[in-house]
């Protein structure tokens, strides 16, 4: 079957993806960044970042290249250690050196620009590995769930294929399925379509859109402003390591307050 876009992606209703589409931003923040500072040597990447993400919320982090967007997501699951300030997940500090970090990471799915599928495992084994080895789920149960997820992302027939035999778009959809297999409370997308050929971008965005509609809490770093405008609840605009502005997408695109954000929006609209 072709991997074209436009197909309907149906998620299992009522399950792990949160409440109804309307009014899904409820309760205490799932993620909170307080005064986060991050530098690589002399290069300061994040300055005094305060940000919270509510359960059920889908945010897009936008900004020029090298503005610290990806680093911010990597601090949320502890792939980077912050220099000062704190990152909280479900109210608990995210500390890369702690033992609790593994449990937190098991609850936070991450999708990378380069897919990072395990090349020595089949597609199905890529999805099954962590649920079985990290969460201790029965292999049969995990496999059944993995097949469901492959169905959801539209490539059930690729279960036994090797990642190398898949197109980029297919690999990224497997990567999303792999993250979802852990039943995460939060999904982080780090430029998920930047490494894809244009014709494959849509199939990945379709999956992400359905995921957001299903109520998944997600933070997405992307340059796909069409996706941002259509899908997310809030846009967070970062430049030079500082959150310059944030708000609902309509407001952001129509009437950004700061000159830098307006400049950014103008560039996108005119290109």
């Amino acid at each position: 079957m072709s991997a074209g876009g436009g197909r309907q992606v149906a998620f299992v209703p009522g399950a792990t993806y949160g409440g109804p589409i309307e009014d899904r931003t409820t309760g205490a923040p799932l993620v909170e960044l307080r005064g986060v500072h991050k530098a690589f040597g002399d290069n300061v990447v994040l300055r005094d970042i305060d940000l919270s993400i509510a359960t059920g919320e889908a945010i897009v982090i936008a900004g020029p290249s090298g503005s610290g967007k990806s680093t911010m997501l990597r601090c949320i699951n502890g792939l980077e250690e912050v220099n000062s300030g704190s990152v909280l997940f479900e109210g608990a500090p995210v500390d890369p050196g702690s033992k609790a970090i593994r449990l937190m990471r098991a609850d936070i799915g991450m999708v990378f620009q380069q897919f990072n599928l395990f090349p020595h495992k089949s597609v199905l084994d890529n999805i099954v590995l962590a649920p079985v080895k990290v969460k201790g789920i029965e292999p049969d149960v995990a496999r059944a769930r993995a097949r469901e997820l492959l169905e959801t992302v539209g490539i059930p027939e690729k279960a036994d294929a090797s990642p190398a035999d898949l197109s980029g778009g297919q690999q990224q959809r497997v990567a999303i399925a792999r993250a979802l297999a852990m039943d995460p409370k939060l999904m982080l997308f780090v430029e998920p379509t930047s490494a894809l050929d244009p014709e494959m971008i849509r199939e990945v965005l379709d999956v992400m859109r359905e995921l957001a509609r299903g109520g998944m809490t997600m933070a997405v770093v992307t340059h796909e402003m069409g996706f941002a405008r259509e899908v997310c609840d809030r846009i967070v605009f970062i430049d030079e390591g500082v959150i310059v502005e944030q708000g609902p997408p309509d407001e952001f695109f129509k009437a950004a307050k700061s000159p830098r954000a307006r400049e950014f929006v103008d560039k996108i609209i005119h290109h």
Partner: protein, 220 residues
């Protein structure tokens, strides 16, 4: 032609014995090389500077001393020092430890060939560092190093011929051929059969590694 085969049939015991001795030497040395090589590779990528340094010292000393010197030290040297080491232990040990240095370097490069993204993907799924090393990094490292490991093994098989020449003087393929040659003066024939003996082993090893390669090497 018949003279050629006569040398073989009349000295089948010597040649067969030599083949068996060389086989045992290289199989023993291979096991040591893989086991010790893996341990040293692990030291070379360990988080501690001192462990890395220890692994580095191992690799540099064993790679930079000629095998013949190692063999002599392992046998005559240890015996002079009062260690009653046998021919087999000294021969297999020295060849294995020497080859391990090369195995360690190849494995280390294999580990570095595994992208950082693989490690991050694994950690982000909740795997520990140890699990990541064992389930994600090492299996991939081993797969990428199958071809160079094959070359090292072939080199090791050929290097084993020095054992018979050294003081250890086990009657391996080359030594057996030299015994036959000394007895019959049929130099060309004796060494030709020695070459055939080594080819038997190296070609078998090559086929085995090709099989592993086809089976396990991953395309990226």
């Amino acid at each position: 032609m018949s003279a050629l085969f006569d040398v073989l049939t009349e000295h089948l015991d010597e040649f067969g014995g030599g083949l068996w001795v060389t086989l045992r030497l290289v199989m023993g040395a291979f096991v040591i090389a893989i086991v010790v090589g893996t341990v040293v590779a692990a030291l070379r990528i360990a988080p501690s500077v001192w462990l890395r340094r220890l692994g580095g010292i191992y690799v540099e000393s064993f790679r930079n001393i000629p095998l013949l010197v190692l063999l002599t030290m392992a046998y005559a040297g240890l015996r002079r020092a009062g260690v009653p080491i046998g021919q087999w232990t000294a021969g297999i040990g020295a060849l294995g430890l020497y080859t391990a240095a090369y195995v360690a370097e190849v494995l280390r490069s294999g580990v570095f060939a595994v992208s950082k993204g693989q490690i991050e993907a694994s950690l982000s799924l909740g795997f520990s560092y140890a699990q990541t090393l064992r389930r994600i990094v090492l299996p991939q490292a081993f797969r990428t190093v199958i071809p160079p490991l094959g070359s090292i093994t072939i080199a090791m098989i050929k290097n084993s011929a020095i054992i018979g020449v050294s003081l250890i003087a086990l009657n391996d393929i080359l030594k057996s051929a030299r015994i036959v040659q000394a007895e019959t003066f049929k130099t060309e024939e004796a060494f030709l059969w020695a070459a055939v003996g080594y080819l038997l082993i190296t070609v078998t090893a090559t086929i085995a590694f090709r099989f592993l390669e086809r089976r396990y090497v991953i395309s990226r």
